[in-house]
Structure formats: C-alpha cells, structure tokens
C-alpha cells in the first residue's frame, strides 16, 4: 500500500480535531499499520496530552526543523500499541516557526517510513492550516452538526479543493440523536446536503471522550464506548473496510403507532 498522508482539519476550533487524530491514529495502528500523528498546532500543542505522551517529549517538530535534532529523534513511540508514533510540536513558538516548504519536506521524509501520516491541523484558514496541509494528499474534515461549524467546514473544503487535495472525507462529530430527533440539531443528511463530500464517520456525543482525553488514553485503545467504536469504524473504512454506519437513531415507533399519530394529528 502506498503511504497515505492526511490532514485532519475543520476550520472552526473545538470540534474535535485533536481527539479524532489521536483516536484514529491509535485505531489505525491497532489494525496493523505503522502510523505517526503530528501535532500541527505550533504554539498550542494538545495532541501529546490527548495521546498521553506529554511526559516523554524531549525534542519537538520545531527542534527537528531548526536542526537541533534529527527528525526521528522527535518521534515518540507509544508503548501501548505496536507501530504508533507521534511528533509533538513546540509550545513556546508561534505558527511562524514552521514554513510551507519545511512541512512538505517533513511529509516526504515520513512517507518513506510510515503507512499513515496524520497531521492535526490548527483551527483557522491562515498559515497554520496551510502549513499543516502543505505536504498532504488527503484530508479528513471534522464538523459538528452546528450551523457555524458546517459553514467553516464548507470554507475549509473549498480551500482544500483549491489546493488539489483528494480525497476529502467528512466526519460528523458530537451527534446527539435526541436533539436531532427534536429538530434542535442538524442531522447528518442536512450536513451532507450542504457539504457534498463523502461521509466516512459519524461520532455520537460521548462523555467518555472528555474522560479519555484528560487521562491521555485514546478511546480506540480499549474502550467499547460508542465514540470509541465510531472512531475504530472510521479507521477500518480508511483502510478499505466496508463497515456499515452506526445506527444513531433512537428507537422509532412502529408503523401502526405512526399511522395512529397521523390520524390523531389530522383530526
């Protein structure tokens, strides 16, 4: 299989890019792929915490780019899963510490060694995002079922298309089936109608996500929570698995009950 270099992005902040990166990276590694997750958010690093590797950082991506170490010295090996690595970024620098060409170079180097390179992009559409997307072929766009997040995802998809990234897949995160049912939240079909790109995963809103991020233990490593399963399914689909989408609907009334309701409403 040719190595795949993928940016995880969203436009809007706080929709779950870092959580998705950590969980999908871990799930891909469990499936037997050699995976590296790169924190592309220079100056606001988080991926190390979510993956539980913050105490093992010696060198960062910026150190490697500035020539203070070799790139593979900045690689941290996850001891819980075979073949899972991450490259942290610098917290004490800003986005200007990395250039477009440097990111292209880093991606081409990592391509030689890994099956999957996942880059966690910063929010926004400025240089930070452009650098994170510089050396990648594909993109995973994360959105939540909120109008503002969808609009930003639409903007970022337009930019990714103009940067000739392909394929671009969509993950709809933090779905609350009860709110969707009441009409208080967009449903996935609405989001797809607006964004018009292929869906690769639907992740329900799940308290376990917050817990696992605080504990630094990606859900996909062990947990059987709904979100963990959803992220594992995404990883399986990314590697060609034909996994049906989870049923996030709350139980529906039977046909008879619905007909009765319709008649009651018509009176």
């Amino acid at each position: 299989m040719a190595p795949r270099v993928i940016v995880v992005t969203s436009g809007k902040g706080g929709v779950g890019k870092t959580t998705a990166t950590a969980n999908i990276a871990a799930a891909l590694a469990i499936l037997g792929n050699k995976v590296v997750a790169i924190d592309g958010d220079v100056g606001l690093r988080n991926l190390d915490v979510v993956m539980g590797l913050e105490n093992r950082i010696v060198y960062t991506l910026v150190d490697a780019l500035e020539g203070h170490c070799r790139l593979n010295q900045a690689l941290i090996k996850d001891k819980r899963v075979e073949n899972l690595f991450m490259i942290p970024t610098a917290q004490s620098k800003t986005k200007d510490a990395v250039t477009y060409d440097q990111m292209v170079h880093v991606c081409s180097e990592l391509r030689k060694e890994f099956d999957f390179v996942l880059i966690d992009s910063p929010a926004g559409i400025e240089a930070g995002f452009r650098n994170a997307a510089a050396g990648v072929d594909e993109a995973l766009v994360i959105t939540t079922p909120e109008v503002s997040a969808v609009r930003d995802a639409d903007r970022i998809i337009g930019l990714l298309e103009s940067m000739e990234k392909s394929p671009i897949f969509l993950i709809v995160n933090r779905i609350r089936p009860h709110m969707v049912k009441k009409g208080d939240m967009l449903d996935v079909a609405d989001v797809l109608d607006i964004l018009q790109i292929a869906l690769i995963g639907m992740v329900p809103d799940d308290e376990n996500v917050v817990k696992s991020a605080n504990e630094g233990r990606p859900l996909t490593l062990s947990d059987d929570s709904q979100a963990g399963v959803a992220f594992r399914n995404i990883a399986a689909r990314m590697t060609g698995g034909d996994i049906p989408f989870m049923n996030l609907d709350i139980p529906r009334k039977g046909l008879l009950a619905r007909i009765k309701d319709a008649f009651a409403g018509g009176r």
Binding site: R151, I157, M163, E164, I194
Partner: protein, 233 residues
C-alpha cells in the same frame, strides 16, 4: 487539458481545468501556445481558473512564460476564490469578465457546481447556478440571478451600471438566505418568514423589495406577496 474557446467581442477564453495539477501548468500552457499560436497572437484572452486558488508565484510565472511569449493580452483573470481575487486586484489585474467593445453584457454565465463558503462569482450579465449557493458564498451579477439549488449565501443582482438596475430579479428554488440585494435595495428575510425554504422570485417594485412564490400564479401570488424588510444600500 487547457481549452480555448471563442467569446463574443473577439475574446478568447482560456479555461484551465480545476483538477489539473498546478505542477502541470508550465507544460500545459506551453502546449496551448504551440497549438494555439496564431489564435493567441494579438488576441484579448480571459484566463479562467474556475474555483482554483491562484498563488503569488503563479501570476508572474504565467505572465512571463505564457502571456508575453504568446503575444496575447489578458482582459481578465477569473477565479471564484476570494483570496486570489484580492491578490490579483492588488496587482492591478482585472478579475471580472471583460466588457466587449460596446457596453453590452457578456451573456449568461452558467455554473454547474455549488459555491462553497468563501467563494465568490462576479459577472457582467445573468448568472445561473445549478448547484447550491452555500452560506458565506457570494454571487454578484449585473443582470438576473437564478439558483437552481438552495440559496443560503448572498446574492446581488443588478449590482453595477449607471443608476439602479432594479429591473433585475433573483429566482431561487429553495430560498434560505437572510438577505437579497437588487441594485441599491437590500431585502432582509427572517427564518420564520413564510417564504423560507420555498421557491421564490425576488424583485423590486415601487421602490421596495418584493418576494413572491415562484411560479407566479395570478391573484394568488399578489395576495401572498409581501415586501421583505427593506433598506437602501
């Protein structure tokens, strides 16, 4: 492959496909120059990049490697990417469709795609879009605008010319925009308006912005029609 297409007013349109890798620019433009030499020499050309973003490096490279050697002069650089439009404008380059010798419109621009947030289309003439106009996208036309998909973004019909072009209309198959502009008039709409999500035709009548169901049905519509809240731009 880059295509050349004749346009009214002896303008040659040079269409650069969106899916063509930027790395192929040089070789593809060289091919166009080789095969289209006599057509290009002395011609006014429109470089049409579609929704593609144009980088700072592309502009000087194209001028040097294609525009100068071909003998053509560029009448417009067309891209729907708003950032690129700004970049081109800063360099003093034209980014809207060129006016033919006489002040007539350029005909109808038909776009078989959806416009995403941040994308912008400017056209002298009428515009028909077969896809959606998403929230955050903009369409400006000197003539009428028809959206066959859902309208969430901003449209401005009759947006240029001397005085107001308040004869222009906007037709949308699914109206979900909070604002529509025609000439110097702005109509605003609430999500609870009865036209929300419906097929509508928007026009200016008696100085006010009027929304009616489409297709127009005599009697019924005039009763249902009402003015959107209006302001003057």
């Amino acid at each position: 492959m880059i295509k050349l297409k004749g346009m009214p007013g002896s303008i040659v349109r040079c269409i650069i496909p969106e899916d063509m890798p930027a790395a192929d620019f040089k070789s593809e433009f060289d091919k166009v120059r080789k095969h289209g030499g006599p057509i290009l020499n002395g011609a006014r050309i429109v470089l049409d990049f579609g929704a593609r973003a144009i980088s700072e490096a592309t502009v000087p490279a194209l001028i040097e490697e294609f525009v100068w050697p071909s003998g053509a002069s560029v009448a417009a650089w067309i891209t729907y990417d708003a950032v690129s439009q700004k970049l081109l404008k800063r360099a003093g380059l034209y980014t809207s469709e060129p006016a033919p010798a006489e002040e007539s419109p350029c005909g109808t621009l038909v776009l078989h795609q959806s416009l995403r947030s941040g994308q912008r289309v400017e056209h002298r003439g009428d515009v028909i879009i077969t896809g959606h106009v998403n929230d955050g996208a903009e369409v400006l036309a000197s003539g009428n605008i028809t959206i066959l998909g859902r309208l969430n973004g901003l449209v401005h019909a009759g947006c240029e010319g001397k005085g107001d072009n308040t004869d222009a209309i906007v037709v949308a198959r699914c109206m979900e925009a909070l604002q529509v502009r025609i000439g110097s008039k702005i109509g605003s709409l609430g999500r609870d308006a009865e036209w929300w999500g419906r097929r509508v035709i928007v026009s200016v009548r008696d100085g006010g912005v009027l929304i009616e169901y489409w297709p127009l049905v005599k009697g019924e519509n005039s009763a249902a029609a009402g003015a959107a809240k209006e302001e003057t731009a």
